[in-house]
Structure formats: structure tokens, C-alpha cells
């Protein structure tokens, strides 16, 4: 059953098409990644799904409830972890959680119990009475995550959950997200970190210029768009033209990436059999989601 369903979802800002006819079906219990370069429309899409931004066109259903009709009921079961820290600087760490619990009408005693539990879970117990500005970036991020779980959400929506974190903190976040998934909590994650998407997401959608270009499991996308391996040919300006000519005539799938030529859907041995002038400076490496990303969204800066 789709827990989040969007239909022809469109958002326009002053003539600019930020989200263009997006149809998504996110299954209950899965971790769904939304990938895309800056300005692709990910945050605009997320803001519509968390009911803080009305769609220009189209519909959203969360747990079979029409978001336009039942925004409060939907927001009550969502946990939102924003990209920008919007913790309440006027309140201490523990108060941040209990005050947030009150927005969800969670009774005081229960709010205290959950807040204590969440601080322990995210290893912030000793920061209980700290000011927000005394926390490090990693601690703030963990507190944001803890805050997003205060209402025991059925769906948690995270915008760049590990941006700016050191590897230790990043892995802690991934581990917690894994635990939440094991509890059956659906996750929708916006990210530009391909490693993150490949590690934690069951399925990803790649978004570009407001549209969803493709969606599938990271592995399926890699084999569909790139193959198992990527061959990277280093070519100087002298040999470059020749190599490209030969690759084209052999009908191979390749991209001229500027400093090198990338060949897809072919192994080193196959290439050696196909090409007459087999290039010397050639490197073979496993294909990644990042290759898919580049193939679909291009290498130039979008903004």
C-alpha cells in the first residue's frame, strides 16, 4: 500500500516551475530517497508533502487521507527533520523536546518520558540543560532527529539529514535510521549524498528541473544506466578525437566527461575485443549511483 501518494503534483513560484507534474508512490515501511542537484525542486516537493506549502496543482494522499482536507491529522503522524537547524534557541535542550511534544498535544508526563528516552537514544543525556548554541553541529542534528521522533511518527521526512557531519556522526545517524526502518517507520529522505542514498535507501528517485527522471532501487538504477563497471579512459587532446570516433563507430555507450571519457555497460575485456586501438591509459572501477546521477542530470552546474 502506498503510504504517500502524489498525483500530478506541481508547484509554481512567480512563473518558475519548481515541481513539475510529480507522481510518487512511497510504500509503507520503505526508505525512499529523493536525489537531485540544487534547485531540482526537492525541498519544494517535501514542503508540499509536509503540508506547509500548498500545491499549485495536483493532490497528495498520506495514509489515504487527502492532505488538502486533513492537514492537521497528517502532520500529527509525520516526523520532520529539516535541513536548516530550526531548534528553538530560546529554550534549553530538554525543553526543546517537551515544548515540541506539546505542539502534538502529548500529555506532560508522557512528553517527559519520551524526551528523556530520546536524549538517551541520541546520546545527548548530558546536554539535557544546555543551550542550543552550545551544541556542536552533530549534536544539533541529533537533537533535530530526536525532535522529529517525539510524536512517534509513522513517516519520518528528512531533508539532508547528514549534511555537514563528520563520518562518525553520519554513521550514527544512518544506524538510527536503520533502527527506525526495522520498526516499520517509513522514511522519505532528500539527499545529495550518493553514498547515503545507496547505503540506506530501498528506492530512490532522481529529480531534475522539477521532474522525476527515474525511480527504482539504487542497484537497479546503476545496472540500468551504467552497468556493473565504469571504464575511464584518460585521453590527451591528440588521441581524444580518435578514441571518440572509434567508440561511436562501435556503438558503445560513453560520455565525454572533459578530463576523461567514461564508457558504460561494457567490461574491460569486451572493450579490448571490440576496439582496434585499445587505449592504454584506462581505469576500471565499480559503477556507483553517482554515475547514474551524472548521466541523468549532467555535469554542468544547474544554478
Amino acid at each position: 500500500m502506498a503510504i504517500i501518494l502524489t498525483q500530478n503534483l506541481t508547484k509554481k513560484f512567480k512563473g518558475l516551475l519548481a515541481v513539475d507534474d510529480v507522481n510518487l508512490e512511497i510504500e509503507e515501511g520503505e526508505c525512499f530517497g529523493l536525489l537531485g542537484p540544487n534547485g531540482a525542486g526537492k525541498t519544494s516537493l517535501i514542503r508540499m508533502i509536509i503540508a506547509v506549502s500548498p500545491p499549485t496543482e495536483g493532490n497528495i494522499w498520506v495514509l489515504d487521507k487527502d492532505l488538502a482536507v486533513y492537514p492537521r491529522q497528517v502532520k500529527a503522524i509525520l516526523g520532520v527533520v529539516p535541513q536548516l537547524d530550526n531548534l528553538d534557541d530560546d529554550l534549553r535542550v530538554f525543553q526543546n523536546l517537551t515544548t515540541f511534544a506539546r505542539y502534538f498535544a502529548i500529555p506532560k508526563k508522557e512528553a517527559y518520558r519520551r524526551s528523556t528516552e530520546l536524549l538517551r537514544l541520541f546520546q545527548l543525556e548530558d546536554k539535557h540543560n544546555s543551550r542550543i548554541r552550545e551544541l556542536s553541529g552533530g549534536m544539533k542534528r541529533r537533537l533535530l532527529l530526536a525532535r522529529g521522533l517525539i510524536n512517534q511518527p509513522k513517516i519520518i521526512i528528512l531533508d539532508e539529514p547528514t549534511i555537514g557531519l563528520d563520518p562518525q556522526a553520519r554513521h550514527l545517524v544512518w544506524q538510527k535510521l536503520g533502527e527506525l526502518k526495522a520498526q516499520g517507520i517509513t522514511q522519505l529522505i532528500c539527499t545529495q549524498n550518493m553514498e547515503e542514498a545507496a547505503t540506506i535507501c530501498d528506492r530512490v528517485a532522481i529529480m531534475h528541473q522539477g521532474r522525476i527522471l527515474t525511480q527504482d532501487s539504487p542497484q537497479a538504477l546503476v545496472s540500468r544506466y551504467v552497468g556493473d563497471e565504469v571504464l575511464e579512459i584518460e585521453a590527451n587532446s591528440g588521441s581524444r578525437g580518435k578514441i571518440i570516433e572509434e567508440l561511436t563507430s562501435c556503438g558503445l555507450d560513453f560520455v565525454d566527461a572533459g578530463d576523461m571519457i567514461q564508457v558504460f555497460h561494457v567490461s574491460r575485456d569486451e572493450l579490448a575485443r571490440t576496439m582496434v586501438n585499445f587505449p592504454e591509459r584506462l581505469r576500471q572501477r565499480p559503477a556507483t549511483l553517482e554515475d547514474v546521477f551524472f548521466r541523468l542530470t549532467g555535469r554542468t552546474l544547474a544554478e
Binding site: K75, P82, L84, D88, F100, A105
Partner: protein, 254 residues
């Protein structure tokens, strides 16, 4: 326009909790300053002012000081305070992703601003009572009036907040709107000292009816014009409250 729900109380509680933690930092503004003005103007300047009916000048200005500092409290809270929460801390963004709507947040802020007016009005009233300036038991209703006026001034302030691009814009609000009201709404001298035209304009300023009503309760002297003053406050409150819900929604729910 959508109405707000009971959940506005959550926003109010949030602001109250912050106030209870930080009130000592704000006390100079809403306790020390009005008392200073009351004493300096009332006793200092008052020594040179002869009132027509033998009344003391400090008794004349005390209710006006209550009304204007109720106005200041609400106005500061819902301009600088609200803008800080909205733009700098992004507190509103965090809250509207919970079951609270933009309308609940705005209403919570307005009622909190009004609560600040009530606190300020009450503190000055107590001081005035200690100085034996209050002459009527009707004065017990003044905190309630401060609260009502607070709703009106908070609504005006948050409407402005919902429209401005930056902190600097509040200079206009205070210099061109709040300060003139402080001087030309009959706080320090009766409006009758002004030419007719100025008197008429002064009645449009939302502080004027508040000053008149506070003074009436303070002295226990009533006349029919006060009903008009009360009606004016209620109409302006409804007007600005409703518009601010719409403009803030337009700003946040984009």
C-alpha cells in the same frame, strides 16, 4: 481566511515559558522605564504644570502611561520578537510542521503580546496604587483593558511583521506610528489643546481610545463617548487580527 484553533494556546505556552526564563532581561523595559517616566514627568515636570481642576499632573498622566506601555509591550513583542522567531530562529517553520497551523501560531503570538500588555499594565497600576494615585475601584478593570488593547496592538504589529523584509523596517513602524501615538494620543496633555483637525486625526490613532478608557477606569468618571472608544478598539482589533492571519499565511505557506 481560516480561523485559528484552540491549539494557539501551545504557541502562547511556548512564549510564556521563554518569558519565565528570561523575564529579568526584559524587566527594565516594562517595569523600570514606565515608572521612571511616571515619576520624572509626573513629579518633576508636574511641579510646573497647573491642572485646571486642581488635579495633580501625575494623576493625569498615570493612566496614559499604563495605556502607552501596554502598547509598547505588545508592539515590541510582535515586531522584533516575532520577526526574530520567524526569520532568524525559524521557530515558526518548525512549528507549522506540527499540527499547529499558521493561524494558530499568529493567534498564539497575538495573545502572548496581549499578555505582555496585561503584565505591564498591571505592574504600573500597582506602582500607581502604591503612590496613592488611583481614585476608583473601577481601576481593577484596567488590566483587562490592557489585555484587550494588547490584542489590538499585537495584531497591528504582527501584520507589519508579516509584510516587512528586514529588521530595519521596524524603525519606520516605531518612529512613524508608535512614537507619534505616544505623544499625540492624550497621554501627557489633553487633546483639547490641539487644533480641531489634529484632534480628529488623533481619534483615528488606536492609542487614543485606550487612553480615554484607561483614564475613565482610573478616575471612575464615565461618559457616553467611552462606548464609542470601546467600539473603536473592538472594530480595529477584529480588522487587524483577521488581516494578519491572512498576510502571515501568505508569507509562511509559500
Amino acid at each position: 481566511m481560516k480561523p485559528f484553533s484552540w491549539r494557539f494556546i501551545r504557541m502562547w505556552q511556548r512564549d510564556r515559558d521563554v518569558f519565565l526564563r528570561l523575564w529579568h532581561a526584559e524587566a527594565p523595559g516594562f517595569v523600570a522605564e514606565p515608572i521612571m517616566i511616571l515619576l520624572a514627568m509626573g513629579l518633576g515636570l508636574g511641579a510646573y504644570v497647573g491642572m485646571v481642576d486642581g488635579q495633580r499632573y501625575i494623576e493625569f498622566i498615570a493612566p496614559g502611561i499604563i495605556a502607552s506601555y501596554a502598547m509598547f509591550s505588545a508592539s515590541f513583542e510582535c515586531t522584533y520578537g516575532s520577526f526574530w522567531r520567524m526569520e532568524h530562529q525559524r521557530t515558526y517553520d518548525a512549528i507549522i510542521a506540527t499540527p499547529l497551523s499558521v493561524e494558530d501560531v499568529v493567534a498564539g503570538e497575538i495573545f502572548w503580546g496581549a499578555t505582555r500588555s496585561l503584565i505591564t499594565g498591571s505592574v504600573i497600576l500597582v506602582v500607581a496604587t502604591v503612590f496613592q494615585l488611583v481614585s476608583s475601584p473601577w481601576a481593577l478593570l484596567i488590566p483587562l483593558l490592557s489585555f484587550l488593547a494588547g490584542i489590538m496592538f499585537s495584531s497591528i504589529a504582527i501584520l507589519f511583521t508579516s509584510l516587512v523584509p528586514s529588521f530595519y523596517s521596524f524603525n519606520y513602524f516605531f518612529t512613524l506610528f508608535i512614537t507619534p501615538m505616544f505623544f499625540f494620543s492624550g497621554v501627557f496633555f489633553p487633546l483639547s489643546s490641539f487644533p480641531e483637525i489634529v484632534q480628529t486625526i488623533s481619534w483615528i490613532a488606536p492609542l487614543t481610545p485606550v487612553v480615554h478608557l484607561t483614564r475613565a477606569l482610573f478616575w471612575g468618571e464615565f461618559h457616553l463617548n467611552l462606548l464609542l472608544a470601546l467600539a473603536l478598539i473592538i472594530v480595529l482589533t477584529f480588522f487587524f487580527f483577521s488581516i494578519s492571519l491572512v498576510t502571515m499565511k501568505r508569507r509562511l505557506n509559500i
